[in-house]
Amino acid sequence: MSAARVGVLVFPGSLDDRDMLRGLELCGAEAQFLWHKDARLPESLDGIGVPGGFSYGDYLRCGAMARFSPVMRAVLEFAQSGKPVLGVCNGFQILCEAGLLPGVLVRNRDLKYVCQDVRVAVEDPGKFRAELPPGRGLVMPVKHGEGAYVPDPDHKPRVAFRYVGGSPNGSTDDIAGVANAAGNVVGLMPHPEHATDPLLGSSDGGALLRSFLAACVAARTRR
């Protein structure tokens, strides 16, 4: 089977875009950047990664402005067609603002940015389950100022990942990441792409990225 072809969105203010591209490549993907002004996605794309950073400076609310960029309309259709979309950190915030995932992310409880390694436990990562059996623990870094998840009262979230031993940010029920009802869109605050190389810390994030890529390939063969 050929490698999964994935795109990594680049908004003004995306910062972990290169890291995500590199992480996905390390995990075997054929990855390319997708520019926010391009309203059309390349043909035969298997999945989309929405990277971390401070898109549009995180002004107003994190992710609030990126949602209106031309590429996001295409991403919306892409996700609605059942193709996998992974949002990390600011990417998670963007997917929530865009309505692809329920809930919202607000200021950390202690009002401070936090950068540290955390442990999360896998619960229900939707279609990203190839290497993510429920209960598996993963060590990955978080680095964000607004990562406290608040569920939408009308939408019970499908919890993909939960912090173990308390959240670093005051997230409701220690939620670290969620999936949409269809299971093809997953967002989380911890950074799997920063945990793909033992020299730089942990390599647990590789399991998550490979599970995303497996879902990409599966969605392609089904079509």
């Binding site: 607000v106 009002l111 009262p153």
Partner: protein, 78 residues
Amino acid sequence: MKLRVLVSLKPGVLDAQGRAIEHALRDLGYTQVSGVRTGKLIVLDLDTPDPEKARALAAEACEKLLANPVIEQYEILS
């Protein structure tokens, strides 16, 4: 004309910043402070002389962009 929009967290949503300010004020000796909530002020400068139109426009902007209805409410001052 200028319109002021106030966006704040809905009652019941935890306002960590408000709480921090409350503590800080109490520490400074302002014991009369019994609660603090915070929000955003957004001042819109609109090229329209019609106050009705301006308010309608501001309300639309709030619905679309300025407030997130899951946790936020807004109010438009004159």
